[in-house]
Symmetry: C2
Subunit: 257 residues, 2 copies
């Protein structure tokens, strides 16, 4: 029996990246697409609970069954599994994102939140991102990386609770050095707001800023991406910082307030 | 000099929980409030990047400086630090959330995403949540827990990259057993969608489901909450699953595609 692959993204059904991912995925199984009807970048692990969700058939992928969803990437995963399929797929693929989701960007990323949601449901899940925001970006290197990883994950599965965060540098396939499994860098955004006045003289703000990599380790995604490698970070959803659990036990209290 | 405390939440400026948190926070320093102008539950770590943000003075906290923000909890933290204060506060408090944010709920939680964002900015940050969705919930036990924790965190700081996820069971203060520092339980939602037809006969969906705790460990937040303890999970933003890094090194590729 063919493998069943659920594909989603955060740049919407209309992005080039999801078309490229679907073109790759159909080489490995039967594909179902459930993706947002509008861009959902920066939505993180958001779910829609204060308004109803819409889900409509979408014919833009020709013979491939596809649905357009009014919600977030995580909503798409939940609707795909529990409403459309009524069972778990063999693999969940998210992307290919127009833009990098390395380092702490994983927290803001709708692409990776969809993959993390897949792992929460026990499905081997992979998010793919290319370090190029161009709407007509060249996804050929990313597709080769996907073709190298997907069959291995279909064959071996993934460790419990763990999805893969795959990032690919903006290089041609012939300049891609290879693939490195590594850790998420501890970089962050030095935020700034671009403050403007609207036509009524009232202020509004655009979030901007620059990315700052202060992580000195040599086995992080940012380190390898700069050297021309694609990176794979095994990503889980246990946010407990176990290394400090004992240090913080001094906050324990047996009812003596 | 007084300590400077930034307060936000995800239930909006109009929720009882943030009023109770502000009432507690002013006992420990000068308070600035930047919070959403409408409920933002389930927004996770979402940020607003496809439309401009609005930020307006809000007079609902009497003499306390407060701003109403059109964006998500994480937007509130960023605007509070980089636009309103133009410096880092000594402490960030988020909540008190109307509803529990234990276990994997931390990923969907706007309350905790605000605290995690604070930790990303290097600010000691605590999210408080009460296991009661009632808009008029009794926050007295949570306030006592906050009063026990806040001065210790102001004095000792928190480990690097780490915020605290504090959850309080729905009990009176006299029935609260104490406080336990522990790990995030590996529970999850068994999702279901409530499918209905609108006035035009078109389907729409409400996300529903039941929470399923399959974690057998005895030092998790869900375990202690059930026993009547408040819980503190040290929560970081490195999602790398280090325990499986070596097992996955078989996916490394030195350019032999």
């Amino acid at each position: 029996m063919n493998k069943l692959i659920l594909v989603t993204n955060d740049d919407s059904l209309h992005a080039k990246g999801i078309r490229e991912l679907v073109a790759t995925a159909i080489q490995f199984g039967d594909v179902l697409v459930v993706a947002p009807n509008k861009p959902q970048s920066g939505m993180g692990h958001a779910i829609t609970i204060t308004k109803p969700l819409r889900l409509e058939p979408y014919s833009g992928f020709q013979e491939i069954e596809a649905y357009s969803c009014s919600g977030t990437p995580v909503d798409c995963v939940k609707l795909g599994i529990f409403e459309v399929l009524k069972r778990k797929p063999d693999l969940l693929l998210s992307g290919i994102n127009h833009g990098e989701n390395s380092s702490t960007n994983v927290l803001y990323s709708g692409t990776m939140s969809a993959a993390i949601e897949g792992a929460m449901e026990g499905i081997p899940s992979i998010g793919f991102s290319l370090a190029d925001f161009d709407s007509d970006a060249d996804f050929s290197a990313t597709k080769e990386v996907a073709k190298a990883i997907i069959p291995k994950v279909l064959k071996n599965g993934l460790p419990k609770n763990t999805s893969l965060n795959v990032n690919v540098p903006k290089v041609t396939f012939k300049d891609l050095k290879g693939i490195k499994v590594c850790a998420q860098a501890h970089a962050y955004w030095e935020d700034k707001f671009d403050s403007r006045l609207d036509q009524f003289g009232r202020p509004y703000y655009w979030l901007t800023g620059k990315f700052s990599d202060r992580d000195q380790r040599v086995d992080t995604d940012l380190y390898h991406l700069k050297r021309g490698y694609a990176t794979i970070v095994p990503t889980h959803f246990d946010l407990t910082n176990y290394t400090v659990l004992n240090d913080l036990k001094y906050l324990d209290n047996e009812g003596e307030f």
